[in-house]
Amino acid sequence: MIDESVYSGGVFSDTIDGGRSGAEIELSPRGVSARTPDGDRFDIPYRECQVEIGGFSGRMVFCRNPDRSLTIFCEDRKFRTALAQASAGLLDEQLGENVRRRRRESRRGRRIVVAVLLGTVLLLVGAYYGIRAVARAAVHAVPVSVDGKIGSAVFESMDLGGPEVDDPVVVGAMQSIVDRLAPHAAIDGMEFDVHVIDSPMVNAFALPGGTIVVFTGLIERADDAEQVAGVLGHEMAHATLRHGLKRISQSLGVAAAVQLLLGDAGGLAAAGAELFQLATVNSYSREQENEADEEGVRMLHEAGIDPLAIARLFETLRQQHGELPGAVSWLSTHPQHEERIAAVRDHVASLPPREYRLLEIDWAEVQRRVKQD
Protein backbone atom coordinates (compact mmCIF):
# COMPACT_ATOMS: atom_id res chain seq x y z
CA MET A 1 0.00 0.00 0.00
CA ILE A 2 1.36 3.38 -0.93
CA ASP A 3 1.05 6.12 1.60
CA GLU A 4 -0.59 9.09 -0.08
CA SER A 5 -0.12 11.58 2.74
CA VAL A 6 1.86 14.76 2.47
CA TYR A 7 4.63 15.47 4.97
CA SER A 8 6.12 18.80 5.84
CA GLY A 9 9.85 19.01 5.35
CA GLY A 10 12.40 20.77 3.22
CA VAL A 11 14.83 20.72 0.33
CA PHE A 12 18.49 21.60 -0.07
CA SER A 13 19.39 22.32 -3.67
CA ASP A 14 21.79 24.68 -5.41
CA THR A 15 19.06 25.50 -7.91
CA ILE A 16 17.03 27.26 -5.21
CA ASP A 17 17.92 30.84 -4.36
CA GLY A 18 19.61 30.60 -0.98
CA GLY A 19 20.05 26.86 -1.41
CA ARG A 20 17.15 25.77 0.77
CA SER A 21 13.43 25.90 1.14
CA GLY A 22 10.62 24.39 3.13
CA ALA A 23 8.66 21.84 1.10
CA GLU A 24 5.76 19.45 1.08
CA ILE A 25 7.04 15.90 0.71
CA GLU A 26 5.13 13.17 -1.07
CA LEU A 27 5.94 9.50 -1.51
CA SER A 28 4.99 8.29 -4.97
CA PRO A 29 5.47 4.73 -6.24
CA ARG A 30 8.68 5.76 -8.02
CA GLY A 31 10.34 8.06 -5.58
CA VAL A 32 10.36 10.91 -3.07
CA SER A 33 9.16 14.24 -4.33
CA ALA A 34 9.19 17.68 -2.79
CA ARG A 35 7.25 20.80 -3.75
CA THR A 36 8.45 24.17 -2.48
CA PRO A 37 6.13 27.11 -1.69
CA ASP A 38 7.53 28.80 -4.86
CA GLY A 39 6.16 25.88 -6.92
CA ASP A 40 9.47 24.14 -7.72
CA ARG A 41 9.34 20.36 -7.75
CA PHE A 42 12.20 18.00 -6.94
CA ASP A 43 12.27 14.21 -7.31
CA ILE A 44 14.61 11.45 -6.20
CA PRO A 45 13.82 7.90 -7.40
CA TYR A 46 14.04 5.29 -4.62
CA ARG A 47 16.74 3.30 -6.46
CA GLU A 48 19.04 6.35 -6.48
CA CYS A 49 18.15 7.47 -2.98
CA GLN A 50 20.84 7.57 -0.31
CA VAL A 51 19.20 7.60 3.09
CA GLU A 52 20.66 9.16 6.20
CA ILE A 53 19.08 9.73 9.60
CA GLY A 54 20.22 12.57 11.82
CA GLY A 55 19.54 16.23 12.34
CA PHE A 56 19.24 17.94 15.69
CA SER A 57 16.40 15.73 16.88
CA GLY A 58 18.12 12.58 15.62
CA ARG A 59 15.03 11.47 13.71
CA MET A 60 15.24 13.62 10.59
CA VAL A 61 15.35 11.46 7.47
CA PHE A 62 17.46 12.73 4.57
CA CYS A 63 17.01 11.39 1.04
CA ARG A 64 19.92 12.42 -1.15
CA ASN A 65 20.63 11.96 -4.81
CA PRO A 66 23.87 10.19 -5.88
CA ASP A 67 25.96 13.38 -6.34
CA ARG A 68 24.43 14.86 -3.16
CA SER A 69 23.40 18.04 -4.97
CA LEU A 70 19.79 17.49 -3.93
CA THR A 71 18.57 16.61 -0.46
CA ILE A 72 14.96 16.13 0.55
CA PHE A 73 14.42 15.92 4.29
CA CYS A 74 11.57 15.37 6.68
CA GLU A 75 11.31 15.21 10.45
CA ASP A 76 7.80 13.78 10.71
CA ARG A 77 7.71 10.79 13.07
CA LYS A 78 5.77 8.67 10.58
CA PHE A 79 7.95 9.48 7.59
CA ARG A 80 10.60 6.79 8.12
CA THR A 81 8.08 3.96 8.23
CA ALA A 82 6.16 5.42 5.32
CA LEU A 83 9.35 5.68 3.27
CA ALA A 84 10.22 2.05 3.97
CA GLN A 85 6.76 0.96 2.87
CA ALA A 86 6.60 3.18 -0.20
CA SER A 87 10.00 2.04 -1.46
CA ALA A 88 8.85 -1.59 -1.20
CA GLY A 89 11.88 -2.77 0.70
CA LEU A 90 14.43 -1.03 -1.52
CA LEU A 91 15.61 1.25 1.29
CA ASP A 92 15.13 -1.12 4.25
CA GLU A 93 18.79 -2.00 4.54
CA GLN A 94 19.96 1.63 4.50
CA LEU A 95 17.28 2.68 6.97
CA GLY A 96 18.06 -0.21 9.34
CA GLU A 97 21.79 0.50 9.34
CA ASN A 98 21.15 4.18 10.01
CA VAL A 99 18.83 3.45 12.92
CA ARG A 100 21.36 1.07 14.48
CA ARG A 101 24.21 3.54 14.10
CA ARG A 102 22.06 6.29 15.55
CA ARG A 103 21.26 4.17 18.61
CA ARG A 104 24.92 3.28 19.15
CA GLU A 105 25.91 6.94 18.97
CA SER A 106 23.16 8.16 21.23
CA ARG A 107 24.18 5.57 23.84
CA ARG A 108 27.74 6.82 23.63
CA GLY A 109 26.47 10.42 23.83
CA ARG A 110 24.51 9.64 26.97
CA ARG A 111 27.56 8.06 28.56
CA ILE A 112 29.62 11.18 27.83
CA VAL A 113 26.91 13.44 29.29
CA VAL A 114 26.71 11.33 32.45
CA ALA A 115 30.51 11.25 32.75
CA VAL A 116 30.82 15.02 32.35
CA LEU A 117 28.07 15.71 34.91
CA LEU A 118 29.56 13.23 37.35
CA GLY A 119 33.04 14.64 36.84
CA THR A 120 31.83 18.18 37.47
CA VAL A 121 30.04 17.16 40.67
CA LEU A 122 33.08 15.23 41.93
CA LEU A 123 35.36 18.14 41.13
CA LEU A 124 33.14 20.60 43.00
CA VAL A 125 32.73 18.35 46.03
CA GLY A 126 36.47 17.59 46.05
CA ALA A 127 37.34 21.27 45.79
CA TYR A 128 34.93 22.10 48.60
CA TYR A 129 36.42 19.59 51.03
CA GLY A 130 39.94 20.41 49.87
CA ILE A 131 39.45 24.08 50.60
CA ARG A 132 37.90 23.31 53.98
CA ALA A 133 40.86 21.14 54.93
CA VAL A 134 43.36 23.79 53.83
CA ALA A 135 41.42 26.49 55.67
CA ARG A 136 41.37 24.39 58.83
CA ALA A 137 45.10 23.78 58.61
CA ALA A 138 45.75 27.46 57.98
CA VAL A 139 44.16 28.33 61.33
CA HIS A 140 47.13 26.78 63.12
CA ALA A 141 49.42 29.31 61.45
CA VAL A 142 47.37 32.21 62.87
CA PRO A 143 48.66 33.48 66.25
CA VAL A 144 46.36 32.99 69.26
CA SER A 145 46.24 36.76 69.79
CA VAL A 146 44.01 37.00 66.70
CA ASP A 147 41.43 34.80 68.45
CA GLY A 148 41.42 37.24 71.34
CA LYS A 149 40.91 40.24 69.08
CA ILE A 150 37.99 38.56 67.29
CA GLY A 151 36.51 37.42 70.61
CA SER A 152 36.60 40.84 72.24
CA ALA A 153 35.21 42.52 69.11
CA VAL A 154 32.31 40.06 69.09
CA PHE A 155 31.79 40.42 72.85
CA GLU A 156 31.54 44.21 72.62
CA SER A 157 29.02 44.11 69.80
CA MET A 158 26.87 41.41 71.33
CA ASP A 159 23.48 41.86 72.94
CA LEU A 160 23.85 39.57 75.93
CA GLY A 161 20.26 39.90 77.07
CA GLY A 162 20.96 41.21 80.57
CA PRO A 163 23.26 43.27 82.80
CA GLU A 164 26.65 41.93 83.80
CA VAL A 165 26.81 40.61 87.39
CA ASP A 166 29.71 42.08 89.37
CA ASP A 167 29.15 40.29 92.68
CA PRO A 168 32.70 39.17 93.61
CA VAL A 169 31.47 35.91 95.17
CA VAL A 170 29.64 34.82 92.02
CA VAL A 171 32.26 36.01 89.50
CA GLY A 172 35.05 34.77 91.78
CA ALA A 173 33.47 31.31 91.96
CA MET A 174 33.28 31.08 88.16
CA GLN A 175 36.79 32.46 87.75
CA SER A 176 38.13 29.92 90.25
CA ILE A 177 36.61 27.06 88.23
CA VAL A 178 38.16 28.44 85.05
CA ASP A 179 41.50 29.01 86.76
CA ARG A 180 41.57 25.41 87.93
CA LEU A 181 40.91 24.18 84.38
CA ALA A 182 43.15 26.68 82.58
CA PRO A 183 46.55 25.03 83.28
CA HIS A 184 45.28 21.93 81.47
CA ALA A 185 44.19 23.78 78.34
CA ALA A 186 45.36 22.42 75.00
CA ILE A 187 47.21 25.59 74.03
CA ASP A 188 49.37 28.02 75.95
CA GLY A 189 48.91 31.72 76.08
CA MET A 190 45.13 31.85 76.15
CA GLU A 191 43.71 34.01 78.92
CA PHE A 192 40.30 33.01 80.13
CA ASP A 193 38.11 35.86 81.21
CA VAL A 194 34.71 35.11 82.77
CA HIS A 195 31.65 37.31 82.53
CA VAL A 196 28.44 36.47 84.40
CA ILE A 197 25.24 37.84 82.88
CA ASP A 198 21.99 38.20 84.79
CA SER A 199 19.55 36.33 82.60
CA PRO A 200 17.20 33.37 83.14
CA MET A 201 18.79 31.61 80.15
CA VAL A 202 20.33 28.28 81.13
CA ASN A 203 23.36 28.81 78.98
CA ALA A 204 27.08 29.48 78.77
CA PHE A 205 29.36 30.04 75.81
CA ALA A 206 32.94 30.80 74.93
CA LEU A 207 34.15 33.25 72.32
CA PRO A 208 37.39 32.86 70.37
CA GLY A 209 40.36 33.82 72.54
CA GLY A 210 38.85 32.64 75.84
CA THR A 211 36.15 35.14 76.76
CA ILE A 212 33.57 33.03 78.61
CA VAL A 213 30.01 34.09 79.29
CA VAL A 214 27.89 32.35 81.95
CA PHE A 215 24.20 33.17 82.42
CA THR A 216 22.78 33.17 85.95
CA GLY A 217 20.06 30.76 84.81
CA LEU A 218 22.68 28.03 84.57
CA ILE A 219 24.05 28.80 88.04
CA GLU A 220 20.54 28.66 89.53
CA ARG A 221 19.70 25.33 87.93
CA ALA A 222 22.97 23.51 88.54
CA ASP A 223 23.05 21.32 91.66
CA ASP A 224 26.71 21.96 92.40
CA ALA A 225 29.82 23.76 91.16
CA GLU A 226 31.10 20.61 89.42
CA GLN A 227 28.14 20.63 87.03
CA VAL A 228 28.94 24.20 86.00
CA ALA A 229 32.60 23.19 85.70
CA GLY A 230 31.49 20.51 83.23
CA VAL A 231 29.79 23.12 81.03
CA LEU A 232 32.73 25.53 81.37
CA GLY A 233 35.21 22.80 80.45
CA HIS A 234 33.25 22.07 77.29
CA GLU A 235 33.05 25.76 76.37
CA MET A 236 36.73 26.37 77.13
CA ALA A 237 37.53 23.46 74.83
CA HIS A 238 35.74 25.27 71.97
CA ALA A 239 38.08 28.21 72.58
CA THR A 240 41.28 26.19 72.94
CA LEU A 241 40.46 24.05 69.90
CA ARG A 242 39.86 27.34 68.05
CA HIS A 243 36.54 26.20 66.65
CA GLY A 244 35.30 29.74 66.04
CA LEU A 245 38.27 30.66 63.88
CA LYS A 246 38.05 27.39 61.97
CA ARG A 247 34.45 28.08 61.14
CA ILE A 248 35.20 31.60 59.99
CA SER A 249 38.16 30.53 57.89
CA GLN A 250 36.16 27.76 56.26
CA SER A 251 33.32 30.03 55.28
CA LEU A 252 35.74 32.64 54.02
CA GLY A 253 37.84 30.05 52.25
CA VAL A 254 34.90 28.54 50.42
CA ALA A 255 33.48 31.94 49.53
CA ALA A 256 36.84 33.18 48.27
CA ALA A 257 37.48 30.01 46.30
CA VAL A 258 34.06 30.15 44.67
CA GLN A 259 34.78 33.74 43.73
CA LEU A 260 38.19 32.86 42.38
CA LEU A 261 37.19 29.74 40.48
CA LEU A 262 33.89 30.82 39.07
CA GLY A 263 34.39 34.55 38.92
CA ASP A 264 31.61 35.87 36.79
CA ALA A 265 30.19 32.43 36.10
CA GLY A 266 27.44 33.46 38.21
CA GLY A 267 25.12 33.75 41.06
CA LEU A 268 23.72 30.29 40.51
CA ALA A 269 26.94 28.48 41.25
CA ALA A 270 27.65 30.72 44.22
CA ALA A 271 24.17 30.15 45.59
CA GLY A 272 24.66 26.43 45.14
CA ALA A 273 27.90 26.54 47.08
CA GLU A 274 26.21 28.56 49.79
CA LEU A 275 23.41 26.00 50.09
CA PHE A 276 25.89 23.17 50.21
CA GLN A 277 27.73 25.03 52.94
CA LEU A 278 24.51 25.46 54.93
CA ALA A 279 23.67 21.80 54.56
CA THR A 280 27.05 20.72 55.85
CA VAL A 281 27.30 23.28 58.64
CA ASN A 282 25.22 21.15 61.00
CA SER A 283 27.28 18.00 60.79
CA TYR A 284 30.41 20.10 60.97
CA SER A 285 29.20 21.78 64.10
CA ARG A 286 28.26 18.42 65.63
CA GLU A 287 31.78 17.21 64.88
CA GLN A 288 33.12 20.20 66.80
CA GLU A 289 30.71 19.56 69.67
CA ASN A 290 32.00 16.02 70.00
CA GLU A 291 35.57 17.27 69.92
CA ALA A 292 34.76 19.83 72.62
CA ASP A 293 33.04 17.14 74.75
CA GLU A 294 36.10 14.97 74.60
CA GLU A 295 38.54 17.78 75.22
CA GLY A 296 36.37 19.16 78.07
CA VAL A 297 36.33 15.75 79.76
CA ARG A 298 40.11 15.53 79.40
CA MET A 299 40.61 18.95 80.99
CA LEU A 300 38.23 18.20 83.88
CA HIS A 301 39.89 14.85 84.47
CA GLU A 302 43.37 16.36 84.55
CA ALA A 303 42.20 19.18 86.79
CA GLY A 304 40.81 16.58 89.19
CA ILE A 305 37.16 17.52 88.72
CA ASP A 306 34.62 14.75 88.22
CA PRO A 307 33.85 14.79 84.45
CA LEU A 308 30.59 12.92 84.99
CA ALA A 309 29.13 16.05 86.61
CA ILE A 310 28.04 17.20 83.17
CA ALA A 311 26.01 14.04 82.69
CA ARG A 312 24.33 14.71 86.02
CA LEU A 313 23.56 18.26 84.90
CA PHE A 314 21.78 16.90 81.84
CA GLU A 315 19.72 14.67 84.11
CA THR A 316 18.84 17.55 86.42
CA LEU A 317 17.83 19.80 83.52
CA ARG A 318 15.72 17.07 82.01
CA GLN A 319 13.90 16.46 85.28
CA GLN A 320 13.22 20.17 85.59
CA HIS A 321 12.04 20.59 82.03
CA GLY A 322 10.64 17.21 81.09
CA GLU A 323 11.05 16.50 77.42
CA LEU A 324 11.27 20.14 76.43
CA PRO A 325 14.89 20.82 75.59
CA GLY A 326 13.82 23.95 73.67
CA ALA A 327 13.27 25.71 76.99
CA VAL A 328 16.91 25.28 77.90
CA SER A 329 19.23 27.15 75.56
CA TRP A 330 22.32 25.15 76.26
CA LEU A 331 20.50 21.92 75.46
CA SER A 332 18.86 23.28 72.33
CA THR A 333 22.18 24.44 70.93
CA HIS A 334 23.69 21.14 71.95
CA PRO A 335 21.40 18.51 70.48
CA GLN A 336 21.55 14.72 70.69
CA HIS A 337 22.40 14.90 74.36
CA GLU A 338 21.41 11.25 74.99
CA GLU A 339 24.06 10.14 72.56
CA ARG A 340 26.51 12.61 73.93
CA ILE A 341 25.98 11.59 77.55
CA ALA A 342 26.67 8.02 76.48
CA ALA A 343 29.80 9.13 74.61
CA VAL A 344 30.99 11.15 77.63
CA ARG A 345 30.43 8.16 79.94
CA ASP A 346 32.35 5.91 77.55
CA HIS A 347 35.17 8.38 77.34
CA VAL A 348 35.35 8.82 81.12
CA ALA A 349 35.40 5.05 81.57
CA SER A 350 38.42 4.81 79.27
CA LEU A 351 40.42 7.31 81.37
CA PRO A 352 42.87 6.08 84.01
CA PRO A 353 41.22 6.04 87.47
CA ARG A 354 41.81 9.15 89.47
CA GLU A 355 40.81 10.70 92.77
CA TYR A 356 38.52 13.67 92.10
CA ARG A 357 38.56 16.65 94.45
CA LEU A 358 35.48 18.76 95.07
CA LEU A 359 35.71 22.41 94.14
CA GLU A 360 36.18 24.67 97.15
CA ILE A 361 33.10 26.76 96.43
CA ASP A 362 30.18 27.45 98.75
CA TRP A 363 27.61 26.68 96.04
CA ALA A 364 24.58 27.48 98.19
CA GLU A 365 25.99 30.94 98.85
CA VAL A 366 26.70 31.54 95.15
CA GLN A 367 23.15 30.52 94.26
CA ARG A 368 21.68 32.68 97.04
CA ARG A 369 23.58 35.73 95.77
CA VAL A 370 22.52 35.07 92.18
CA LYS A 371 18.87 34.90 93.18
CA GLN A 372 19.29 38.04 95.26
CA ASP A 373 20.43 40.01 92.22
Binding site: G18, R20, P37, G54, F56, F73
Partner: protein, 218 residues
Protein backbone atom coordinates in the same frame (compact mmCIF):
# COMPACT_ATOMS: atom_id res chain seq x y z
CA UNK B 1 9.73 46.79 3.02
CA UNK B 2 13.30 47.81 2.34
CA UNK B 3 15.94 46.93 4.83
CA UNK B 4 19.65 47.57 4.77
CA UNK B 5 22.29 46.48 7.24
CA UNK B 6 24.66 49.37 7.83
CA UNK B 7 27.95 49.87 9.69
CA UNK B 8 28.95 46.26 9.15
CA UNK B 9 30.56 44.38 10.67
CA UNK B 10 31.47 45.91 14.05
CA UNK B 11 28.50 48.08 14.86
CA UNK B 12 25.91 46.77 12.47
CA UNK B 13 22.36 48.08 12.60
CA UNK B 14 19.34 47.55 10.42
CA UNK B 15 17.89 50.51 8.60
CA UNK B 16 14.27 49.69 7.75
CA UNK B 17 12.00 51.67 5.43
CA UNK B 18 8.42 50.73 6.24
CA UNK B 19 5.77 51.37 3.61
CA UNK B 20 2.16 52.06 4.54
CA UNK B 21 0.58 48.97 6.05
CA UNK B 22 3.90 47.12 6.43
CA UNK B 23 5.06 45.84 9.79
CA UNK B 24 8.18 44.42 11.39
CA UNK B 25 8.56 42.62 14.71
CA UNK B 26 11.67 43.39 16.72
CA UNK B 27 13.23 42.33 19.99
CA UNK B 28 12.32 44.67 22.86
CA UNK B 29 14.79 47.55 23.15
CA UNK B 30 16.13 46.95 19.64
CA UNK B 31 14.81 50.24 18.29
CA UNK B 32 17.48 52.93 18.18
CA UNK B 33 15.56 55.61 16.31
CA UNK B 34 12.46 56.04 14.16
CA UNK B 35 10.19 58.52 12.45
CA UNK B 36 7.28 59.72 14.51
CA UNK B 37 4.95 58.33 11.83
CA UNK B 38 5.77 54.83 13.04
CA UNK B 39 3.60 53.24 15.68
CA UNK B 40 5.03 50.86 18.16
CA UNK B 41 2.93 48.20 19.82
CA UNK B 42 4.36 45.99 22.55
CA UNK B 43 3.20 42.40 22.64
CA UNK B 44 3.90 39.36 24.70
CA UNK B 45 6.29 37.35 22.68
CA UNK B 46 4.06 34.45 21.58
CA UNK B 47 1.74 34.68 24.58
CA UNK B 48 2.35 35.20 28.29
CA UNK B 49 3.73 31.75 29.11
CA UNK B 50 5.99 31.64 26.08
CA UNK B 51 7.12 35.19 26.74
CA UNK B 52 8.16 34.29 30.28
CA UNK B 53 9.89 31.12 29.06
CA UNK B 54 11.69 33.12 26.42
CA UNK B 55 12.86 35.58 29.06
CA UNK B 56 13.94 32.93 31.54
CA UNK B 57 15.53 30.42 29.23
CA UNK B 58 15.81 31.89 25.77
CA UNK B 59 17.94 34.87 26.77
CA UNK B 60 15.43 37.11 25.04
CA UNK B 61 12.98 39.58 26.53
CA UNK B 62 9.39 38.77 27.43
CA UNK B 63 8.07 41.25 24.93
CA UNK B 64 8.49 42.00 21.28
CA UNK B 65 7.68 45.30 19.66
CA UNK B 66 5.67 45.43 16.47
CA UNK B 67 6.34 48.50 14.34
CA UNK B 68 3.83 49.59 11.74
CA UNK B 69 2.88 52.76 9.92
CA UNK B 70 -0.01 54.22 7.97
CA UNK B 71 2.02 56.73 6.01
CA UNK B 72 5.50 55.21 5.81
CA UNK B 73 8.70 55.93 7.72
CA UNK B 74 12.18 54.78 8.70
CA UNK B 75 13.43 53.01 11.75
CA UNK B 76 16.80 51.80 12.92
CA UNK B 77 17.13 48.55 14.85
CA UNK B 78 20.27 47.55 16.67
CA UNK B 79 21.63 45.04 19.12
CA UNK B 80 23.16 45.76 22.55
CA UNK B 81 26.64 44.38 21.85
CA UNK B 82 29.19 45.15 19.14
CA UNK B 83 29.03 42.82 16.19
CA UNK B 84 27.57 41.95 12.87
CA UNK B 85 23.96 41.43 11.86
CA UNK B 86 22.85 38.92 9.26
CA UNK B 87 19.62 38.66 7.31
CA UNK B 88 18.21 35.39 6.03
CA UNK B 89 15.04 34.71 4.13
CA UNK B 90 12.87 31.83 5.30
CA UNK B 91 10.84 29.98 2.68
CA UNK B 92 8.91 27.61 4.84
CA UNK B 93 12.12 26.33 6.42
CA UNK B 94 13.24 26.61 10.02
CA UNK B 95 16.28 27.99 11.79
CA UNK B 96 17.34 27.68 15.40
CA UNK B 97 18.87 30.79 16.98
CA UNK B 98 21.04 30.72 20.06
CA UNK B 99 19.79 32.72 23.08
CA UNK B 100 20.16 36.46 22.53
CA UNK B 101 20.74 36.30 18.79
CA UNK B 102 17.28 37.25 17.52
CA UNK B 103 16.84 40.86 16.40
CA UNK B 104 13.83 41.23 14.13
CA UNK B 105 11.58 39.46 11.65
CA UNK B 106 8.86 40.09 9.11
CA UNK B 107 5.26 39.33 9.96
CA UNK B 108 5.19 35.93 8.19
CA UNK B 109 7.79 34.53 10.57
CA UNK B 110 6.78 32.53 13.62
CA UNK B 111 8.83 32.74 16.81
CA UNK B 112 8.95 29.70 19.06
CA UNK B 113 11.03 28.45 21.93
CA UNK B 114 12.51 25.00 21.71
CA UNK B 115 14.18 22.77 24.28
CA UNK B 116 17.78 22.36 23.21
CA UNK B 117 18.67 19.61 25.66
CA UNK B 118 21.24 18.82 28.29
CA UNK B 119 23.98 18.35 25.71
CA UNK B 120 23.63 22.00 24.66
CA UNK B 121 23.78 23.06 28.31
CA UNK B 122 27.01 21.13 28.78
CA UNK B 123 28.34 22.70 25.61
CA UNK B 124 27.45 26.03 27.26
CA UNK B 125 25.01 26.86 24.50
CA UNK B 126 21.95 27.21 26.75
CA UNK B 127 19.08 24.87 27.55
CA UNK B 128 16.68 26.52 25.14
CA UNK B 129 16.94 28.10 21.74
CA UNK B 130 14.70 30.20 19.62
CA UNK B 131 13.00 28.57 16.67
CA UNK B 132 12.14 30.81 13.74
CA UNK B 133 10.02 29.34 10.97
CA UNK B 134 7.56 30.40 8.31
CA UNK B 135 8.09 32.80 5.44
CA UNK B 136 9.93 36.08 5.48
CA UNK B 137 13.14 37.72 6.46
CA UNK B 138 14.80 37.27 9.84
CA UNK B 139 17.59 39.45 11.21
CA UNK B 140 19.87 38.13 13.88
CA UNK B 141 22.99 39.45 15.46
CA UNK B 142 26.21 38.13 16.83
CA UNK B 143 29.13 39.26 18.92
CA UNK B 144 31.94 39.95 16.47
CA UNK B 145 31.68 38.96 12.85
CA UNK B 146 29.25 36.39 11.50
CA UNK B 147 30.40 33.68 9.15
CA UNK B 148 28.34 30.89 7.72
CA UNK B 149 29.27 27.46 6.53
CA UNK B 150 27.53 24.71 4.64
CA UNK B 151 28.16 21.56 6.62
CA UNK B 152 28.10 18.08 5.27
CA UNK B 153 30.67 16.05 7.16
CA UNK B 154 31.61 16.62 10.76
CA UNK B 155 32.81 20.09 11.68
CA UNK B 156 34.06 21.38 15.03
CA UNK B 157 32.92 24.66 16.62
CA UNK B 158 34.23 25.90 19.95
CA UNK B 159 31.57 26.41 22.58
CA UNK B 160 30.01 29.86 22.50
CA UNK B 161 30.65 30.45 18.81
CA UNK B 162 27.54 28.84 17.38
CA UNK B 163 24.88 31.47 16.63
CA UNK B 164 22.33 29.72 14.45
CA UNK B 165 21.83 26.33 12.84
CA UNK B 166 19.26 24.50 10.82
CA UNK B 167 17.25 21.61 12.30
CA UNK B 168 18.98 19.30 9.85
CA UNK B 169 22.24 19.91 11.68
CA UNK B 170 23.18 17.33 14.22
CA UNK B 171 24.98 18.73 17.27
CA UNK B 172 27.12 16.64 19.56
CA UNK B 173 29.52 17.56 22.33
CA UNK B 174 33.02 16.32 22.17
CA UNK B 175 36.48 17.06 23.37
CA UNK B 176 38.75 19.11 21.17
CA UNK B 177 41.54 16.57 21.46
CA UNK B 178 42.58 14.00 24.02
CA UNK B 179 41.70 14.48 27.69
CA UNK B 180 44.91 16.38 28.52
CA UNK B 181 45.10 18.50 25.40
CA UNK B 182 41.40 19.32 25.73
CA UNK B 183 42.09 20.55 29.22
CA UNK B 184 45.28 22.49 28.62
CA UNK B 185 44.58 23.84 25.15
CA UNK B 186 41.87 26.07 26.57
CA UNK B 187 39.46 24.56 24.08
CA UNK B 188 37.85 22.15 26.53
CA UNK B 189 34.53 20.95 25.27
CA UNK B 190 33.60 21.73 21.71
CA UNK B 191 30.48 21.20 19.68
CA UNK B 192 30.71 18.84 16.75
CA UNK B 193 28.16 19.52 14.07
CA UNK B 194 27.21 17.22 11.22
CA UNK B 195 25.22 18.19 8.17
CA UNK B 196 23.69 18.49 5.75
CA UNK B 197 22.73 22.04 6.56
CA UNK B 198 24.06 25.47 7.31
CA UNK B 199 25.43 26.94 10.49
CA UNK B 200 26.19 30.53 11.42
CA UNK B 201 29.06 31.28 13.74
CA UNK B 202 30.32 34.38 15.53
CA UNK B 203 33.97 35.36 15.50
CA UNK B 204 33.99 36.25 19.22
CA UNK B 205 32.32 34.59 22.18
CA UNK B 206 30.81 36.13 25.29
CA UNK B 207 32.41 33.42 27.41
CA UNK B 208 35.79 34.40 25.99
CA UNK B 209 35.16 38.08 26.74
CA UNK B 210 34.01 37.32 30.28
CA UNK B 211 37.06 35.16 30.97
CA UNK B 212 39.37 37.78 29.52
CA UNK B 213 37.79 40.54 31.62
CA UNK B 214 37.90 38.36 34.70
CA UNK B 215 41.61 37.77 34.22
CA UNK B 216 42.21 41.53 34.07
CA UNK B 217 40.02 42.57 36.96
CA UNK B 218 42.57 42.26 39.74
Amino acid sequence: MEAEIRNKPSFANVHVKLGPGERITAEADAMASMNSTINMQTKWSGGVARGILRRLFGGESMFVNVFSTDSGGDLVLTQPFPGDIECIELKGNTLYLQPGAFLACESGVKLGLGWAGIRMLIAREGLFRLKVSGTGRVWFGAYGGIFEREIDDEYVVDSGHLVAYEPSIRVRIGMAGGILSSFFSGEGLVTKVTGPGRIYMQSRSFGGLAAWLNAHLY
